[in-house]
Symmetry: D3
Subunit: 295 residues, 6 copies
Amino acid sequence: MNTNLIETVNKLSQFEGSKDVCHEQINNDPMPSTTVLKEIVQLARSIFFPGYFGDSAVNAHTMMYHIGVNIDRLHSLLAQQIRAGICFNCTADYKERAELEHVALNKATEFILQMPSIREKLHTDVIAAYNGDPAAKSFGEVIFCYPSIRAISNYRIAHALLKLDVPLIPRIITEMAHSETGIDIHPGATIGEYFTIDHGTGVVIGETAVIGKNVKMYQGVTLGAKSFPLDKDGNPIKGINRHPNIGNNVIIYSNSTILGTIKVGDGAVVGGNLWIDVDVPEGAKLAQKKLKEDK
Amino acid sequence: MNTNLIETVNKLSQFEGSKDVCHEQINNDPMPSTTVLKEIVQLARSIFFPGYFGDSAVNAHTMMYHIGVNIDRLHSLLAQQIRAGICFNCTADYKERAELEHVALNKATEFILQMPSIREKLHTDVIAAYNGDPAAKSFGEVIFCYPSIRAISNYRIAHALLKLDVPLIPRIITEMAHSETGIDIHPGATIGEYFTIDHGTGVVIGETAVIGKNVKMYQGVTLGAKSFPLDKDGNPIKGINRHPNIGNNVIIYSNSTILGTIKVGDGAVVGGNLWIDVDVPEGAKLAQKKLKEDK
Amino acid sequence: MNTNLIETVNKLSQFEGSKDVCHEQINNDPMPSTTVLKEIVQLARSIFFPGYFGDSAVNAHTMMYHIGVNIDRLHSLLAQQIRAGICFNCTADYKERAELEHVALNKATEFILQMPSIREKLHTDVIAAYNGDPAAKSFGEVIFCYPSIRAISNYRIAHALLKLDVPLIPRIITEMAHSETGIDIHPGATIGEYFTIDHGTGVVIGETAVIGKNVKMYQGVTLGAKSFPLDKDGNPIKGINRHPNIGNNVIIYSNSTILGTIKVGDGAVVGGNLWIDVDVPEGAKLAQKKLKEDK
Amino acid sequence: MNTNLIETVNKLSQFEGSKDVCHEQINNDPMPSTTVLKEIVQLARSIFFPGYFGDSAVNAHTMMYHIGVNIDRLHSLLAQQIRAGICFNCTADYKERAELEHVALNKATEFILQMPSIREKLHTDVIAAYNGDPAAKSFGEVIFCYPSIRAISNYRIAHALLKLDVPLIPRIITEMAHSETGIDIHPGATIGEYFTIDHGTGVVIGETAVIGKNVKMYQGVTLGAKSFPLDKDGNPIKGINRHPNIGNNVIIYSNSTILGTIKVGDGAVVGGNLWIDVDVPEGAKLAQKKLKEDK
Amino acid sequence: MNTNLIETVNKLSQFEGSKDVCHEQINNDPMPSTTVLKEIVQLARSIFFPGYFGDSAVNAHTMMYHIGVNIDRLHSLLAQQIRAGICFNCTADYKERAELEHVALNKATEFILQMPSIREKLHTDVIAAYNGDPAAKSFGEVIFCYPSIRAISNYRIAHALLKLDVPLIPRIITEMAHSETGIDIHPGATIGEYFTIDHGTGVVIGETAVIGKNVKMYQGVTLGAKSFPLDKDGNPIKGINRHPNIGNNVIIYSNSTILGTIKVGDGAVVGGNLWIDVDVPEGAKLAQKKLKEDK
Amino acid sequence: MNTNLIETVNKLSQFEGSKDVCHEQINNDPMPSTTVLKEIVQLARSIFFPGYFGDSAVNAHTMMYHIGVNIDRLHSLLAQQIRAGICFNCTADYKERAELEHVALNKATEFILQMPSIREKLHTDVIAAYNGDPAAKSFGEVIFCYPSIRAISNYRIAHALLKLDVPLIPRIITEMAHSETGIDIHPGATIGEYFTIDHGTGVVIGETAVIGKNVKMYQGVTLGAKSFPLDKDGNPIKGINRHPNIGNNVIIYSNSTILGTIKVGDGAVVGGNLWIDVDVPEGAKLAQKKLKEDK
């Protein structure tokens, strides 16, 4: 290490000048850990789909043992990560912090109490994926290797946590699925039962999107915002409703983009490669204009 | 763990009510392991492209040792995973199972006997990628870091296994590449030599697609199904031919979607962002209609 | 292992017949290691954004220690990988090789000296991402979980290395981000400050693209080549300028494709799903032609 | 790799000339795995002493889950290792081998059925260690960090397996404890309840030794063979009784050596650094002759 | 899992009957972790002997960075383990527990403040080992590979923690060295500067032993208790003084045993294989009586 | 981190005051790595005893592949560690260093050329261990789990490296076995064929000891130095002959200590717990004096 490098160390260590990009650990609160969150998602999957994930052979005799142990561990890890999410930006003092630990433990318990109903929803998603794909050979194949099931599992976990007012953690969980599957579902979106996405790469579902029951999408579909109202500084106002509302029994083909607070009516079929920013009536069938040969 | 959590454990452990989403291990058959399959693909890559992958320096003197050891290990791991694939849904009794182990071993041997010819095909794919990309500096760079080579390697491995009637495993192998590269090639597709995909994210190639020699694709291209014949319950009929047939020397630009059992003739060039569901004649050059300024 | 397998080993071990796909290690030079490069990127991130990455709690008192140690390790690992990149295709003899080690060490030092200014640029990218996304809750959330920050960090690292004439390594670093985020930025591209990409899956930015300040893109946008001049053998000429030049303050909506050496003027807004291969004037607002309903 | 090294490879690869030191895998039977056996011992310890080992917090509500899962896994791993032990030297054909798998599974079950009574014995050993050591602060400290408890646990596990006619595996398990603690107890020895060893390094207890109840030993004590009857080739006859029989309530101080098929009577106290090869009467107190100063 | 195994699970899960061997986690307090304690010892060694341990190259320019980071991490891990030690047997309620966390942090700080003086003592031990062993080639060799240095380092760390009233953890730290080196030094012993042990296997130094300056021991030496006063239940009274006091400049040769609260005077030389339970005068030279040939 | 801790960091970072205990990395030479040395020993064992160690099933068809790959890797790792040993205390400049790399490579080659003859010697040690222990069931059991075979393997490897003038590394290799088995054989000792040690804990064999053929030892035996000539500063003179010479066909029973440059004649039998510092004639049988009862 020569003098130049030491100068660079000093330059990079000036806390004051770089406070936007530094995260000072005031109370030694640990950051959320993606490694632990991966284990949490893996535990949740092995509880939702016993026998498919994890290294244990499960059968009717041993299922309770496995689920008991997995829930015990999930509870403890999730409470720890929820607390890390809560303290990510907090300035609580020592005693308030002890309180936050209690709050985190309760939110973890609340989440686990919802797991049976989350499993029921995921069950419908598996049925939808199986029925919707002629290449699917069995429920088992869908559960074990379809990226859409992984993306939707992470979304349903993250959405439940968001509803429990857990900060940051839900977004990390959906980004983990985004990275693995190319499917980017914001945890704030509201999605009904029997939801399926075929192939999935490039799908984007925005924070305030609402999706009905029995909706099917293909790769590259975006449910996005058209424009955002700006605040007086010219920056987008946070959290405002800005995404589409999709009815029941809708199919949206690949690479179509649906933008803004529009409504796509029940039973509509949206063809591929479309750009839609107006309401689509119930039962409508939209398709791209025929191309013509060029030169 | 309080009473509520224990109740939740009990609720989630009721095998009867959740049999669709559980995988009961009747005979302690292990599930396919993505960790082992990753090692299998890594071994295959280090055999196809000696010296590029794995932690060993290979040269003319030591190549036989390395390939010998890698094939020995590949044989054993692959037989184990093929058996796991066969038993994923089987209900064979003890003796039939011993037979299945024998079957799996033979299929693993069959696969290895095909490795020299798979390597020849991959060699042509490397040439096509190098020739097709002005940014490619050397064959080595293409082999070592192009995602298309990884996706096509996994596809060619998976396709050979599918042809040997190995269930489930081929799909897992192509999904592994899908997750890493965003390129989703169904193992059932038939793809000729000198195949290359540039960038690749979002590419989808369906189960019954047929692609000729010397075809080049860009990111976001879909070779998909237009619609599926339904059975009497309203569900898609499995396994029916439903994807395009692409001729030789075809180029398909980014984000175009080609759907249904249509034929794209030899030498055709399909421009980007197109939606095509009719035959494309030999030598045709299709391009998107010019846009016009809005507002 | 039976006779057939041994024959296959022999067939695959014939170095002569397969020299295009083999990498002979003449001098035991190690290949570049993606594992080490991942650690390098992780170290760089923990230096750019202290306290967010790595397992240590950083505060004003300890920051210098952590940055010092991280830079010390980064320096050593980077020098090692730069040398591996330089020697990937070299045939230098023993003494020239010792010289290359020295060269690699100097390039690693040069890179580190640029880290303060790279951090400043990344700081502007964080601000742009935060301001541009109504769903972003804090700078911390953007730094910690936005895939675009990861893709742009890898790009800015890789670009600096490319400018230092480091071969191969820059491309591997951007491909690592490509695999994780679906965003494919060639290290050769030139990108100004305050750059942000929303969602990002499917974005492709080519080798000779130039992007001004304060540009925002959405998922699926391609800045690609339209066609490449061929050499006398019919292969593309390497390294020639072939990608767009994007001005300042431009927005490009999802899935649009901009091709060739065209110019998109300052302040232009390019709508989604467009295919553009001609210059776009300053301040222009392009949108897709309205679709019509197709029975 | 030069010619010399290749010749060395060839020399070392001649199977015929080195058959004593090679282990040919006729049927691809895996070798016993010390990694798996370490996990087995760890699982057994976490079942014998719930809450002390393993990474899970156990309490009255969750104990059954944890023990259920641990026994499930122990059963499967132990059956696998027992089979590896049985097949270490076997030449069984394919069908006999399937039979051996069944035998191994039954032996693993038998072992688990004995675990409650092994735990009772270990409980007495913990009490003896606590009562016998003025430095011991609590049962918990004894269980968690006393090497004698680890050595005796491994011995009691190994002894039960030896009684079930499991070959090889018991010896590996006691050697694992030997390596960690310096205490070498042959699995064939017979040891009563309330057994304790203080410090322990260098203790040797031979294959045919018998030890009563409530015996305490210190470091460096040997219960060995004095001489072995030779067979007609001049080699020791295998498996013959050749070690001491120690009564109840005996104390043996450090570094004493007791050899041959002698009897040490109930309540005897053997001082340190002694060499004993004749019977010791009940209640005797043996001590080393006083030393004298040596110029 | 058959009925028998499930019965065994139930039998082993009865908390009441087995409370001596179970550790119930009332408040989810984590157990001390030997993995973390190994890292703690490794960190301490890399601080005491910079450049010898850990994977970083240290030099005069970077030493402060490395020591700063290592102390930062040591502080945090040690506080965590001290708390685990304190709570091993505690029944504190929620608020008392928060207090204990504070106490643990302070004890960790206290320990670190003593590290410079511990390093000074270890420095003298290195000198003593180098001077005392004709086979030692350099200080570096002694530091890097002599087991006695490892055992004495662990002892000096553990002793300092014991003096800070940290329960359990000191004993685990010395047992770690016992397992690796066969040298068993109780953390309660008091040992002066320039202490060295040659070879070391089998050495035992008891809880209340006191050792002066410049003492050298060989393998197999015991400084033990002769007998323990019993309490009214017939069990040894805990913690009473019962071990020898060794003066300055004493040498004790291999396998000798020194027992009870005796005094070995300054400058004494104790020969090998002796059993000593009376005071040894200053400057005395004790040797074993000559053997005579037997038979 | 408070002010006190930062002061402690500063105190511990003063390079000048602590130069005896610091290892300054002048040229970034890596330290020898015990992790790599463990892999080296493991590779050597899998070459000496094919099929017993490593995770591969070896048979007559595949042995050459496995040995070839293992020797290739052993060569490379060993050269690296030999260089680290040579540079541990060296002050060579850049060009001399390049030379040292060449020297290290040659020494690694020399070592491998000796492996066939080392294997022959180890073969005789296995025979001796099997014949000498009535509890040994097969050669395989001896090779796979006897600690003496591990200790002697490490010694024979280390001795060959020492003879090649490799510094430091040989001692680390024997200390690794010392830690695992409690058997401490200095790499400088000279040991003939058919050597065996039963149980072994506490055995010490000094640097200049010479042991003939067919010698058997038990646990706790020391072949040590009696006294060392001092230099003018009062410190032992390094490297002088000071250990016993043991003839052929000698047996030494447990815990005996043989000291100084004495000669134990061929065929002698040394009983246990003896202290010997005079020559022992050929064929002599020494035994401990009978003890007498002490009230």
